[in-house]
C-alpha cells in the first residue's frame, strides 16, 4: 500500500504549508534484506513443501490429496487456538490458558449432549459461553486488578485442568455425540475438509477485527505502550479486558471444533495445545509485519510446523520429532523476534 497522494484529504486545513523542501516519501522498504526479513518464513514454507513433494522417499505420499487434507484438518483446531492467543498477545499479555479453555469448552459441549441430553445448538452455546466466562474472569484479574497475566492465566489453566479431571474422572465422553457435529470434523465439501473451512472462516473474522476495526488498532497500541495509549485517550483497562474475553470466545469455539474432530471429549487438560499455539504466534512476529503478531503470519506459522512435521514423519523420522521440532521452532522464533526488535534500536545514543 503506497497511497501517498497528498491531495483530497479530509483534514481541516489547519497546519501551514510545508516550509521545508518536502522529503521524498517512498514506499516500503524493498531492499533485499528487507524482503528476506519479511518473507523469509513464507519462502521457507514454500521450500519445505517443494522439498518434501519432490523427495523420492516422501514425494508420492506427501503430494497425495489424502495427506494434504489430513495435514490441514489436523491443524484446524491448533490454528483456532493460536488465533485465540493473538488477542492478548497483540495487547501485550501472555495467555497460557487458551489450551485449557479449549479443552474445557469441548468437555462442556460433550457433557451437555451426552450427560444432560441438551440439543446440540444449546450445547455449543454453552461451550462457547464457558470460554467467554473464563476469558472475562482473566480479563478482570489482569486488567482490573493488575494481576500478572503470566500467573493469572497459568493459574486459570491449572484450575480448569483440575476441574476437567474431576468431572470426567479421567474417562472420555463419547456417548451420543451428534453426527451433525462429528460430520463437521470428518466430512469435506468440494474436497476440502469442513473443519478447515470453519477454521479459515474464524481466521478471516479475527483478521477483520485485528485489521479493520478500531479495536484491533487499540489492541496493538496498548501492546506497544500502555502508558502512551492511556494518554491518547484509550481505555486501557477495557481494551485489555476485551483482549482476554475475545481470546476466551475464540478458545470456546476451538473447543467445539476439537470435539467435532475427535468425536469425544477427553480428560486432557489442553496444555499440549498451548505450545504449538505459542510457536505459531511467535513465528507470526517474524514474517510480513515484522515485530507484531498477525493472523496471516500465524497461519503461515501453523502450516510451516505442520508441513515440516508431516514431511519428516513420511521420510521415517520417529514420532518424537514433532515435539522437538515444535520446541526448536518456538525457541528460534522467540530468539529471532528478540533480535529484530533489538535491531530496530541497537543503542539509544
Amino acid at each position: 500500500m503506497t497511497d501517498v497522494s497528498p491531495d483530497s484529504a479530509v483534514l481541516p486545513d489547519q497546519a501551514p504549508a510545508p516550509r521545508r523542501t518536502p522529503v521524498a516519501v517512498v514506499g516500503r522498504d524493498r531492499s533485499v534484506a528487507g524482503v528476506i526479513e519479511r518473507y523469509g518464513l513464507l519462502l521457507l514454507l514454500v521450500g519445505m513443501v517443494v522439498f518434501f513433494a519432490l523427495l523420492p522417499s516422501s514425494g508420492e505420499a506427501f503430494r497425495s490429496a489424502a495427506n494434504i487434507n489430513s495435514v490441514l484438518a489436523s491443524q484446524a483446531v491448533g490454528l483456532t487456538v493460536a488465533l485465540a492467543l493473538l488477542f492478548p498477545m497483540a495487547a501485550g499479555s501472555f495467555d497460557f490458558s487458551v489450551g485449557a479453555v479449549t479443552a474445557t469448552s469441548s468437555v462442556m459441549a460433550a457433557a451437555a449432549v451426552s450427560h444432560f441430553g441438551l440439543p446440540l445448538f444449546v450445547a455449543i452455546l454453552l461451550a462457547v459461553a464457558s470460554g467467554v466466562v473464563a476469558g472475562a474472569v482473566l480479563g478482570l484479574l489482569v486488567a482490573r486488578y493488575g494481576i500478572n497475566p503470566f500467573i493469572a492465566t497459568l493459574g486459570m489453566a491449572t484450575l480448569l485442568g483440575g476441574a476437567i479431571f474431576a468431572y470426567t474422572n479421567g474417562l472420555q465422553i463419547s456417548k451420543d455425540i451428534p453426527e451433525t457435529l462429528t460430520d463437521l470434523g470428518s466430512l469435506s465439501v468440494f474436497g476440502i475438509p469442513r473443519i478447515v473451512l470453519a477454521a479459515a472462516l474464524i481466521a478471516v473474522a479475527v483478521w477483520f477485527v485485528m485489521r479493520h476495526t478500531p479495536l484491533g488498532r487499540h489492541l496493538f497500541a496498548v501492546g506497544s505502550n500502555a502508558s502512551a495509549a492511556h494518554l491518547v485517550g484509550l481505555n486501557v483497562t477495557r481494551i485489555k479486558f476485551l483482549s482476554f474475553a475475545l481470546s476466551g470466545l475464540v478458545s470456546g469455539v476451538a473447543g467445539v471444533l476439537l470435539l467435532a474432530r475427535q468425536g469425544a471429549a477427553t480428560s486432557d487438560n489442553g496444555m499440549n495445545m498451548l505450545f504449538p499455539a505459542l510457536t505459531a504466534v511467535f513465528l507470526s512476529t517474524i514474517v510480513i509485519e515484522v515485530g507484531r503478531p498477525s493472523v496471516l503470519g500465524t497461519v503461515i506459522g501453523v502450516l510451516f510446523v505442520a508441513v515440516s512435521v508431516s514431511g519428516l514423519t513420511l521420510v521415517g523420522a520417529p514420532s518424537w520429532v514433532s515435539q522437538v521440532f515444535n520446541g526448536a521452532a518456538l525457541l528460534i522464533a522467540v530468539g529471532l523476534a528478540g533480535i529484530s526488535r533489538r535491531g530496530a534500536d541497537p543503542a539509544r545514543l
Binding site: 515485530g291 530496530a344 541497537p346 539509544r348 545514543l349
Partner: protein, 514 residues
C-alpha cells in the same frame, strides 16, 4: 597507545551509511583537533546520532570508510565498540543509561563490575572508594550512596560523564562524546554541565558533542561540523560566527527573519480557569488562560510544572480546587474526558508516555484519531494513511517512509510526530511539556509558528519549558512556580529570559522529583 605529535585526535574519512537502502551519511570527512570542544550540528535527521554511533562502533559504517584515532587507522569493517574504548573514546548516551533506583556507585558497578574481596563477596567499601575517586577527579560533588533518582538532572548528567571517564588517567588521549547532553536541562543546570566540559578540556581531553542550542554552542565550542542531509557541508572555527550563520549552514538557505512578536490580543473569554488547585506538589494554584493566549509555566524540576499539566489533562488526581473549561465546570477523570473537552497534552517523557516505538510512523500520527476512521463496518485505512502521510509532510517529519517504525526516526522528528498527532485534533487548549526538546533550530521556529497559528484560531496554549528563551519569545505571559505555588507572573516588557531565570532559581539545591 601511541602518542605521536598528531594534529588530529579523530579523523573520519569517506564514511557512508545506508539504512534499508536509504543513504543517511554520504562520504563524510571530518577531523577533530586534540583538546578542542567540537560541536556536531545539523537539522533533525541529518545523521548526527548515526555518525556518533559509528564512532562508538555500535553501527558499522559501509565498506570503504576509515576511522583514524590518534594516528591509528581502522577500516570501517574492522572497527567495533572494543576498539573505540581502547582508543580512549568515552560515550554518554542521551538517555544517560543510569538506573534511577540504584545508587550512584551501583550504577558505576553496572559498567565496571563489582570489586570483590577475597573469595566472592562484593567489596562495597572498595566500590564506594573507587566511585568517590572517579567523581572527585571529574569534580562532581555527589555522594556515591545517593540514589540516582534523587539527583538533580544536571548532576545525573555529570555522574554519567564521570562514569564514562572513570579509569581514564590524565595523560592518555581521552575523547568524550556527548549526544545532546543539555537537551532536557534547564538553563542554569546546563551551565553546570558546560562548566564540566570546560574542565575536561582544561585537562587536555577532547570533547565532541551534539546540541541544538546554538547560543550554547557559540559559547563553548572551538570548532563546528555541520551536517545537512547526511553530507558534511561545513567544518570551521566558531570565531566570528553567529547563530544566523549557523542556521544558514544547516539549511543551506539564508536565515529567515525571526517573526515579529505581534499576536492577536488575548480575548476576554477564558478557555481555562483553575482555582485553588491542590494536587501532588501543587499547593493551591490559580490560573486563567484566555482565547488567543499562550501562557508559559516556568519553574525548577520539582516545582510542580508537569503535575499541573497532567492534572489539567485528567492524568493526575486533583485533590482540591475548581476547574472550568470554556466557562463550564469540568471534572476530568481521565485523559479521555480531557480530550473530549478539547484538551491535548504533549508529554515531557516521549519514550515513556508518547512513543509507540514498534508501530509504524503513520499509526503513531493517527493514534489520536483512530475512531474517526471507522466507517460503520470497517476502518477507512486508505484515507487514514493518506491523512497521516499528509501530516508527515506538513510537519516536515523526515522519514524514508510512513511505514518506518517510530524508533527509526531521529529524536527531533519523533517530537514533531507527537505534535502532529495532537494538533490534528485542533484542540481548544493545548498543553505542552517541553515541546521543542531535541528539535533543531529551524523546526523549533516552525513549531512555534504552528502554536501561534493554532491560538490565533481562537484556541489557547499552556507551555512548560526549561528553555527560558523559548518562553520569552513564545508566550504572552509566564507564570513562575516554586515549591508548588505560583510566585510570580511576568508580562509585557518584564517578560525576559533573565527575569524568568532569576525568579525560578532563588531556592538553591532542592530535591528533584517532578
Amino acid at each position: 597507545m601511541r602518542s605521536g605529535p598528531s594534529t588530529t585526535a579523530i579523523r573520519l574519512t569517506g564514511i557512508n551509511k545506508t539504512f534499508d537502502g536509504i543513504p543517511v551519511l554520504r562520504n563524510v570527512d571530518c577531523s577533530i583537533a586534540p583538546g578542542s570542544v567540537h560541536a556536531l550540528l545539523g537539522g533533525n535527521g541529518s545523521g548526527k546520532s548515526t555518525l556518533l554511533k559509528i564512532l562508538a562502533g555500535v553501527h558499522p559504517a559501509d565498506q570503504g570508510g576509515t576511522i583514524t584515532i590518534y594516528g591509528r587507522a581502522y577500516a570501517a569493517g574492522s572497527y567495533g565498540p572494543a576498539i573505540a574504548r581502547q582508543s580512549g573514546l568515552r560515550f554518554v548516551h542521551q538517555d544517560l543509561g543510569l538506573v534511577p533506583d540504584l545508587t550512584v556507585s551501583e550504577n558505576f558497578a553496572l559498567e565496571s563490575g563489582y570489586p570483590r574481596r577475597a573469595g566472592m563477596a562484593i567489596s562495597w567499601r572498595g566500590l564506594r572508594r573507587s566511585t568517590r575517586q572517579s567523581l572527585e577527579s571529574a569534580h562532581v560533588d555527589v555522594d556515591p550512596q545517593t540514589l540516582v533518582r534523587d539527583l538533580r538532572p544536571s548532576d545525573r548528567t555529570l555522574v554519567a560523564i564521570a562514569r564514562a571517564l572513570r579509569d581514564s588517567d590524565e595523560g592518555s588521549h581521552v575523547t568524550l562524546v556527548l549526544d545532546e547532553p543539555t537537551a532536557s536541562l534547564p538553563q542554569h543546570e546546563a551551565g553546570v554541565l558546560l562548566e564540566a566540559i570546560r574542565r575536561c578540556q582544561s585537562r587536555g581531553q577532547t570533547i565532541v558533542y551534539v546540541s541544538h542550542r546554538l547560543s550554547e554552542v557559540l559559547e563553548i565550542a572551538d570548532r563546528i561540523s555541520v551536517l545537512r542531509d547526511g553530507v558534511l557541508v561545513a567544518e570551521r572555527s566558531t570565531a566570528g560566527l553567529d547563530e544566523a550563520q549557523i542556521v544558514a549552514l544547516m539549511t543551506g538557505q539564508e536565515a529567515r527573519e525571526p517573526l515579529a512578536r505581534g499576536m492577536p490580543e488575548a480575548d476576554a473569554r477564558p478557555v481555562l480557569t483553575v482555582s485553588g488547585l491542590v494536587a501532588g506538589p501543587l499547593r493551591g494554584v490559580d490560573l486563567t488562560v484566555r482565547r488567543h493566549e499562550i501562557v508559559g509555566v516556568a519553574g525548577l524540576l520539582g516545582s510542580g510544572r508537569s503535575t499541573l499539566l497532567r492534572t489539567l489533562f485528567g492524568n493526575a488526581r486533583m485533590e482540591r480546587g475548581g476547574l472550568e473549561v470554556d466557562g463550564a465546570p469540568a471534572r476530568l477523570r481521565s485523559p479521555r474526558d480531557a480530550i473530549r473537552r478539547g484538551i491535548a497534552l504533549v508529554p515531557e517523557d516521549r519514550g515513556k508516555d508518547a512513543a509507540f516505538a514498534d508501530l509504524p510512523l503513520w499509526e503513531n500520527v493517527s493514534a489520536t484519531a483512530i475512531r474517526s476512521y471507522w466507517s460503520g463496518w470497517r476502518m477507512a485505512r486508505a484515507t487514514e494513511r493518506r491523512d497521516a502521510t499528509r501530516l508527515i509532510r506538513t510537519f516536515g517529519i523526515r522519514t524514508a517512509t510512513p511505514n518506518a517504525p517510530f524508533t527509526h526516526l531521529s529524536g527531533g522528528n519523533q517530537q514533531k510526530a507527537v505534535l502532529a498527532r495532537w494538533l490534528r485534533l485542533d484542540p481548544r487548549l493545548l498543553l505542552l511539556d517541553e515541546p521543542t526538546q531535541g528539535v533543531d533550530a529551524m523546526a523549533r521556529a516552525d513549531i512555534h509558528e504552528l502554536i501561534r497559528e493554532h491560538v490565533a484560531r481562537g484556541n489557547a496554549a499552556l507551555v512548560v519549558s526549561s528553555d527560558f528563551e523559548e518562553l520569552e519569545s513564545l508566550c504572552h505571559r509566564v507564570i513562575v512556580l516554586r515549591g508548588g505555588s505560583r510566585v510570580a507572573e511576568l508580562t509585557g516588557p518584564r517578560l525576559t529570559e533573565a527575569a524568568i531565570a532569576e525568579l525560578t532559581q532563588i531556592t538553591p539545591k532542592e530535591p528533584t522529583h517532578d
